[in-house]
Symmetry: C2
Subunit: 235 residues, 2 copies
């Protein structure tokens, strides 16, 4: 595994707790819109459920590359319609920025600062550059560059998302390692020739989570969290 | 000027001293290739002289977007041929990385750390993402994102380089300010609707520099260096 020069990270779920962060933003929004009885976590889940279908339009070629901020905003409109909430566009614009202001899991900052001494670090997320940069600025994530779907012009698990990222970094796919809490993401990365590291995030989807609790394939590294990954990679 | 939300920086000349850095890498290379009598600064200038014509091929549409590392490598080949130096491709590959390892001017780090408290900071350089990220990692430049020609898919002074950068940042052109030591870059930025800040770098081209010694137009800010710019912008 000494060939690995750069670590790239899935972000939503792996680096940050999107569900708590989005629910936190939804809570006062629901109160302000006269629906305090609604569960903000359920609404966060509903919003996230629109994520894959929206990207699939781009992956399939039916739609030209469109950044995630735009997809999130469209999805929010659908979620609000389904929930029967009538909100001003400016309020929805503001709520859409919840995805820019998510908190990292507790082990992330210490782990990243240690990993940064040995590796080039960047997000390889389906989030757009602005979203990821605002998140990093707020949380102090020490990325060396902001990579992902927007510079790669492709959404994971499209192989181009992984391969274009290696090309931007001027390295071979096997010199690039994806760190993710999702076995499916890692399977696609491995198929594209990347090295792989799994970190479980057993409460990403809340207390009743049933998926991605364990490594389902023999990934190159399996670690308990980012600090353990630093330990295991000798960083 | 309070509308400005993000500062983007020209890099070669404005943030880093490319001429000294490239000459520093050329010096041992010339010794190793039996040409210790050659002036590494003159050779650095000759290499840099190929920069605009190479990008012009892309700007004119005669060539598809090609990142600067590739153009630098091709230009180096020409420079070596003209100088009658026969070097192995691997040696030229290594020398090409001189552009990734340039030192910032003395005021840059203190200025950027102060500016970062108030503004979103990114390079808006013709350098590619890897070059700029390696430079930032080595020098400790605290960018919030790595922007520039590669994510914008256009070389300055093509207006798309400025406008696509504002679009990636989700802001209007007048909310984006270019900081540069080059009046021509600022003229193109202003034409595209950006705010402008001039910083003189009177030794960028060596002791006999005759161009860009002063602000040639009434730019929105004119500062002595990055620390003075922080002062003048209230950062």
């Amino acid at each position: 595994m000494t060939a690995v020069k750069a670590l790239v990270f899935d972000v939503f779920g792996t680096v940050v707790d999107w569900r708590s962060g989005v629910a936190r933003a939804l809570k006062p929004f629901l109160v302000a819109h006269g629906r305090p009885e609604m569960d903000p976590f359920a609404l966060a889940d509903a919003w996230r459920k629109q994520y894959q279908p929206a990207m699939e339009e781009v992956r399939s070629g039916r739609r030209e590359f469109t950044r995630l901020d735009v997809l999130h905003r469209e999805n929010l409109e659908k979620v609000m319609q389904a929930a029967g909430i009538d909100a001003a566009p400016a309020d929805l614009d503001a709520l859409n920025l919840a995805w820019h202001a998510l908190d990292p899991w507790p082990d992330v900052l210490l782990g990243l600062y240690r990993l940064k001494r040995k590796f080039f670090l960047a997000p390889l997320s389906n989030g757009n550059i602005l979203l990821l940069a605002n998140m990093a600025k707020r949380a102090g994530l020490p990325w060396d560059a902001i990579l992902g779907a927007e510079p790669a012009r492709a959404y994971k698990p499209d192989p181009r998302a992984y391969l274009n990222t290696a090309e931007i970094l001027g390295i071979k796919p096997h010199e690039l390692c994806l760190v993710a809490a999702h076995n499916g993401d890692l399977r696609a990365a491995r198929k594209a020739g990347l090295a792989t590291a799994f970190i479980p995030r057993p409460t990403e989807h809340g207390p009743g989570q049933t998926i991605d609790l364990v490594a389902e394939d023999p990934w190159d590294w399996v670690a308990a969290d980012f600090q353990d990954l630093a330990e295991k990679t000798g960083a």
